[in-house]
């Protein structure tokens, strides 16, 4: 439970909620309902909540910094709403920064994904000069460059047109399926995205 008005929320007001690996969840809500907060709690960035959150059978509060970085390297991946790219690095370097931790994908696969999302011409440009929509796609590819059990995607299509969004979504789904991973995707409005298992209203 967050310290804000969460009345009527399927998540915050629920006695308990179970997010299962392998399923895809879409969390829809207008601004200010705590979408980012939910993902941040799961990802261990925010700890200012009441109640208990377990990852497997571990209470998140009990996880040590070393365990968190292991989890963020191998079990949870996050497409941040604020992207968290390094402006001084090129798009490719931003992706590699993550990929080098686990060397999950080959450079070829990275370029293939970039091509798929239509940002391959910008790979060697500094991330800071790309448009927000292009940056979003860089962040998506970066988030896919690691093993994970869950992918947390925070309004990751907000600055993309419908076609690009669908392509990106399909790429994300494919990568999740390859890992048998769960997906938690937040969105401001009805996404109309196909093949989602559970829709949660915040």
């Amino acid at each position: 439970m967050l310290e804000q008005d969460t009345s009527g929320s399927e998540v915050w007001e629920a006695d308990s909620i179970l997010l299962e690996q392998g399923k895809s969840y879409v969390v829809e809500a207008p601004s200010g309902r705590g979408k980012t907060s939910l993902l941040s709690v799961i990802y261990g960035i925010r700890t200012d909540y009441q109640g208990l959150v377990f990852f497997d059978d571990r209470d998140l509060v009990s996880l040590r910094s070393k365990e968190w970085s292991q989890i963020r390297k191998n079990r949870l991946s996050f497409i941040f709403q604020g992207l968290e790219l390094f402006d001084d690095l090129t798009a490719l370097e931003n992706i590699r920064l993550k990929n080098r931790i686990t060397t999950y994908h080959t450079d070829e696969r990275i370029k293939e994904m970039a091509l798929m999302l239509g940002i391959d011409p910008f790979l060697n440009r500094k991330a800071g000069i790309l448009s927000f929509g292009q940056q979003q796609r860089v962040a998506i590819i970066r988030a896919l460059c690691q093993p994970f059990d869950f992918l947390l995607a925070d309004e990751c299509f907000s600055h993309m047109d419908r076609d690009n969004s669908l392509t990106a979504y399909q790429l994300i789904r494919a990568e999740c399926e390859a890992r048998n991973a769960g997906l938690i995707l937040t969105s401001l409005n009805e996404t109309g995205l196909p093949n989602t298992d559970v829709s949660l209203k915040l």
Binding site: S65, D88, I101
Partner: protein, 398 residues
């Protein structure tokens, strides 16, 4: 991970780091050169005295008008001698015994001019005396009293008195062959005995007329009737006469000695003062430079705070994030160590050349303690900085 370094090193301040680097370097060179210099001088000082021959220092109380008027005794009380004995620099201490009866020496016969003189005797244990002679023993049966006089007395006569008075100079050997009489006077008229006296040696160490201890004890027993005085002189043996605490102690207590012998002790005091001043300055510089180092790195980290949080969100542990800072620190520290040792080595070479001109023999290579000090300090500074880096990156991370 090259990218990590690329991201985090970008936020350094070249001027801060350069300032900290140069400051620490200057402090190190000052400190190391100071230690090197000190060790050199110390070895020169100890070379100049015979290591096998510890210094014998005869001390007495300063004579003041109170002594002259008989208001205060000029001797050492038992407590004072015990205090001297307790000093760390005093390896052995012995008090001078003196005669407690009148003594006269005179000559008779035709070979030498006749003279008669009042005399005094003092005695200290044999191990304190720099003259070794088979004749240096007292045998009451035989009745010859062996006497050691200061070399200075003979010099005074041979080089001062004799030439000015047209008298012949007397070699040591001849003086030793001269027989003279010694009269020991007990209490009461006519209570005296005459003995043969013989000079058996000349002392450079003790400015007194010495007789064997057992003779003086025997004679004081037999003839003594003066009130027993506190010994006016005390001889002490010090294995390390360069120890500056000797002079300090003597000055505090108002004791006097032949200053020449304690020259190295005095030099040591000055040297220690100069060096400790140098070390103090070096310590302040190193301390300040260390602070600049610490602050520059902390500034660098706080400038990168956003990036560090971001990296942490991407799964980098704070220890991984600290690595670029620690590597930067170690590179700078290695540079400081290397350069300061090199500069100190060059300075030591310069010093050695100069010292050679004064025919002082000092080593041009660095003393082992220099390496130890440099490494120890670098380790200390590095550890403190690494701890600070880890703490501040940890603060930014989950």
């Amino acid at each position: 991970m090259r990218l990590l370094y690329q991201i985090l090193w970008k936020d350094h301040s070249r001027t801060h780091l350069l300032g900290a680097f140069l400051g620490t370097l200057a402090g190190f060179v000052l400190l190391l050169a100071g230690i090197q210099f000190y060790m050199d001088i110390k070895s020169v000082l100890s070379e100049n005295r015979d290591l096998l021959d510890p210094e014998y220092i005869v001390i007495n109380k300063k004579v003041n008008i109170g002594n002259t008027l008989g208001l205060s005794g000029g001797g050492f009380t038992e407590e004072e001698i015990a205090e001297i004995e307790a000093q760390p620099f005093a390896d052995q201490v012995a008090a001078f015994n003196s005669n407690e009866f009148p003594v006269q020496a005179y000559t008779e016969g035709d070979q030498v001019p006749n003279f008669i003189t009042d005399l005094f005797f003092e005695a200290i244990p044999d191990e304190y005396i720099d003259v070794k002679s088979e004749d240096w023993q007292w045998d009451p049966e035989e009745g010859t009293i062996p006497v050691i006089i200061p070399q200075d007395y003979l010099n005074l006569y041979n080089f001062g008195f004799a030439p000015s008075q047209g008298l012949p100079q007397i070699p040591k050997g001849v003086l030793s062959m001269i027989n003279f009489k010694i009269r020991l006077q007990g209490q009461g008229r006519g209570n005296y005995d005459d003995y043969n006296g013989r000079i058996v040696g000349f002392s450079n160490r003790v400015s007194s007329i010495l007789v064997p201890v057992d003779f003086l004890e025997w004679a004081n027993d037999k003839y003594g009737y003066f009130k027993k005085n506190d010994p006016a002189q005390v001889i002490l043996v010090s294995k390390d006469p360069t120890d500056p605490s000797i002079i300090r102690f003597l000055e505090e207590r108002g004791y006097d000695t032949i200053r020449e012998k304690l020259k190295s002790s005095r030099m040591n005091i000055i040297l220690k003062f100069v060096i400790s001043f140098l070390v103090l300055v070096a310590a302040i510089i190193i301390g300040l430079a260390f602070l600049v180092f610490l602050l520059s790195l902390q500034l660098m980290i706080s400038r990168s705070a956003d990036k560090i949080r971001r990296l942490n969100k991407l799964g980098f542990h704070y220890r991984e994030i600290s690595r670029p800072y620690i590597l930067l620190l170690m590179l700078l520290m290695a540079g400081i160590t290397g350069l300061s040792l090199l500069l100190t080595y060059l300075l030591a070479g310069q010093l050695q050349q100069r010292a050679e001109a004064w025919s002082l023999n000092i080593s041009s290579s660095l003393h082992g303690i220099i390496y130890g000090t440099a490494l120890g300090l670098i380790l200390l500074i590095s550890l403190a900085n690494i701890t600070a880096i880890l703490i501040s990156t940890k603060k930014l991370c989950k």
